[in-house]
Amino acid sequence: MDLLGALNRNVTAVIGLDRGSGKTTFLNYALPIVRQVGPVAVATIGAHQGPEGTPASASTPTVYLQAQDLAVTTLPLARTAAASLEILDLVPGRSSLGRLVIGRARRPGIVPLVGPEHLSNLAQAWQTIKQQGWAASILIDGAVNRVTQVSSLGNLQFVCTARVDYGNLASSTTLLAMLDQLSHLPLTSNLQPSTEALLSIQGPLVSSFLPKIPRNTEELSLEDFTKIFLSPSELATLTKRCKLSVRRQLRLACFVVALKGIGEKAFYQALGPDFASPILLNPFAANFCLANELEHSPEQGSHA
């Protein structure tokens, strides 16, 4: 629970490592905890597309709000929402599912979420909510495997959810370790270099750029870590060659990992000893002790 304290009075985007990683499940899990410090606003990016042939509304994420909580959704969905929404403002742009509104729940109930297609409009929506003081905390249901969106949404932190099983253990832990490493990149110390040792890059860092980095470069400065589009092995090679730094840090609140078919030990072993970010592990594990299994893990593990 303490790990989720970082979500209080903050704007947090929840991104998933892969499809079915439990973003919306986590949102519904976190909502009652974050609500303890005041009403929560929940939003998402765009209209969620279901499998081919299914209507978008069938895969629309839903959240359970309490009275005074806020949601960004479309008017048609707001009208049918059990939470009965008061319209506080409109969101610029238009979704394929109707006009987008910022609504305040007048009673507890479920609300389907639909967001603007353009990140700038979503950024404007959460800034309005924050400026008007309508909600203490804001949670954004982000997209899958698109950490670049976090950077475009403005000055906010993020949570990354993952569902790890034997099939994806190696790939998932490699990605988690990479995100961990990137989110801890230091701030560029000297923005106006006096020597050629600091190379400052304005755009993305892609594989084809690597051979162009001068040999005498000691530090490579990027706008933020989401501008790195390298494979884990390319990144490992690069970090051996020079120091990486960022001009804007994006704060990672925590990872939320649900293990499926594997134990904690195997997971942590795959993650490696250098992993430094907090992990909320198995948040849905039951917190009870069976008479014959006293050694069973507690409700949730945390790792720092």
């Binding site: 009652p32 059990a82 008061e86 506080l88 409109l90 649900a258 009870f288 069976l290 299994e293």
Partner: protein
């Protein structure tokens, strides 16, 4: 008009007209060109009122910020009356009214009167603000309908019962099955759990999670299912009752839609007037004069071409404003290379567009008339539109288009027309055009040209730019031994310093274009420049006076 607009570089200036309401922004995007004097005089009256107001508010940033805040929060609402308004549309109308009223309360009584900003729709705003809801938000509150109140009360009770049932169920699960769900919708438990709690399946929905674990959720009791069913039946009834309220509110809105539409027009005018006033204040613009007679003079005193003025400031160069009187339908403008002919034409285009888009003009004094058509004939005009035409061909096409409008008031600027063809034929063409238009008082046509052989007609005004002060420059050139070494910026400063951009009557005598001097100043090989001067002397001697 497009090529005229582009030539004038007016768009970048127009972008600085910053309206705050969505209506003002749309109006500004439309960039309407007005041709009615009464309309423009009304716009300028309003600009002056806004200017007086802003001047009175200088130093009162709190009030200005509050006014801007409410202007920015003016919302759009449907452009035409609707049979039924939905919640978003009613929200937009309510937000519009709330902020409209706030603006009227903030500004002075005289301004309210001048812009007709008085607020008469309080009863409608009251209707949209019933019960407990945000002043700029909208919700179909219980107070609108006894039926709605009744249904929502039932829903509230059902929800409470469901919550109680769930709470009881969770307590039972905790005490009987040692499962603490808290606010979690499911739990993951080891499969061995069922060995210890074989009765769990009567209270839980159980699904496999992985080989070792199960996913469990509370199994809804019959009572919870009954209550949920009841809620599902109540929700559409609530929706129906809300629709009836929306219908009632829509009737009230329809009754007042004409007034709403007037409010929209008034706030648009107010927003635009403030934007025009801010621009006037920022750039020291003055109210233009529109002459009474159709064939009256065009008078410019200290006219400024803002893009050039800004450019000069950025490059630390002095800017020379324009003084000019145009009292004939046709004017021919001669002058040095880099002597300001094009800038003179652009200044006229710029000033006229300021006037006819309702802005004040960047001049100490600008008196003009109103034109229905605007044309620019010169480089970059039509060529971009029609591929395959030569420079000359595109100019001719643009001229043809202009010619079709010459029966009505038209401002046409020819910048170095036919410069890409044989000079004698070009002179013949320009002469023919001059002869045809010289007496058409509905026109104002200006030619900038180097062709000295154009015909001389009594009805045409011939002017020339004063050009380089050769005497002073000659003295300087002796000191400035090697111009080639000077960089471009230095050369430009030199040219700018010794160029006189003002106009004088042209008497038809030989006029050097300063081309060789300019070439020298810009670093052309000195031997070439000297040879060119010698050739020029020979040509001059052979030219009959």
């Amino acid at each position: 008009m497009l090529s005229f607009l582009k030539y004038s570089e007016f768009d970048s200036f127009w972008q600085e007209l910053t309206c705050l309401t969505p209506y003002g922004k749309s109006e500004a995007e439309g960039q309407q060109v007005y041709t009615e004097r009464t309309v423009l005089e009304h716009i300028w009256d309003q600009t002056q009122q806004a200017l007086d107001y802003l001047k009175g508010q200088e130093g009162n940033s709190v009030l200005t910020n509050r006014l801007n805040y409410h202007l920015k929060r003016i919302s759009r609402f449907p452009a035409s009356s609707q049979p039924v308004y939905d919640e978003v549309e009613i929200f937009e109308i309510k937000k519009f009214l709330f902020n409209y009223r706030a603006i009227g309360k903030l500004v002075s009584a005289s301004l309210v009167e001048q812009f007709s900003l008085s607020f008469e729709l309080q009863p409608l705003l009251d209707l949209l603000s019933q019960g407990k809801q945000g002043s700029e938000a909208f919700y179909v509150v219980d107070e609108y309908s006894p039926r709605l109140l009744e249904l929502r009360e039932k829903l509230r009770q059902v929800n409470q019962q469901i919550d109680r049932q769930r709470q009881n169920q969770l307590e039972l699960l905790a005490s009987q099955l040692a499962l603490n769900f808290g606010s979690r919708e499911f739990l993951v438990i080891p499969r061995t759990y069922l060995e210890q709690y074989p009765q769990a399946h009567t209270q839980l929905l159980i699904e496999p999670y992985d080989e070792q674990q199960l996913m469990v959720r509370p199994l809804p009791s019959a009572e919870i299912l009954r209550l949920q069913q009841q809620r599902e039946e109540l929700l559409p009834q609530e929706r129906h009752a809300e629709d009836q309220v929306l219908q009632q509110i829509s009737e009230a809105i329809k009754d007042h839609f004409a007034e709403l539409d007037l409010y929209r027009q008034r706030i648009t005018a107010f927003d635009l007037a403030l934007a025009r006033a801010r621009l006037a204040s920022q750039y020291q613009l003055t109210r233009p004069q529109i002459a009474d007679q159709a064939d009256s003079d065009l008078v410019i005193t200290k006219g400024r071409f803002i893009p050039c003025e800004r450019n000069c400031q950025a490059n630390n160069l002095p800017y020379q404003s324009l003084d000019l009187v145009i009292d004939t339908p046709a004017t021919v403008l001669f002058g040095s290379n880099m002597g300001g002919k094009t800038i003179t034409l652009k200044t006229i285009a710029f000033l006229q567009l300021c006037v006819q888009t309702g802005l004040y003009a960047p001049a100490q004094y600008y008196s003009t008339r109103l034109y229905k058509h605007f044309h620019y004939v010169g480089e970059g005009g039509w060529r971009e539109v029609i591929q395959g035409l030569s420079g000359f061909g595109s100019e001719i096409c643009e001229f043809r288009r202009a010619w079709q409008d010459f029966s009505e008031p038209t401002l046409t600027l020819f910048d170095e027309f036919a410069r890409t063809t044989n000079s004698r034929e070009a002179e013949a063409l320009i002469s023919a055009i001059l002869r045809c238009i010289a007496k058409l008082s509905q026109l104002t046509v200006l030619f900038s040209t180097h062709f000295r052989g154009v015909c001389r007609l009594d009805e045409v005004n011939y002017l020339r730019m004063k050009g380089l002060n050769q005497d002073k420059l000659g003295q300087l050139n002796q000191l400035w031994a090697n111009p080639v070494k000077a960089d471009l910026h230095e050369s430009l400063q030199m040219i700018n310093k010794y160029m006189n951009y003002s106009l004088q009557k042209d008497d038809g005598q030989w006029l050097d274009s300063d081309a060789i001097t300019i070439a020298s100043l810009l670093g052309v090989n000195e031997q070439i420049c000297q040879l060119a001067k010698q050739y020029l002397t020979i040509v001059k001697a052979q030219t009959p006076k």
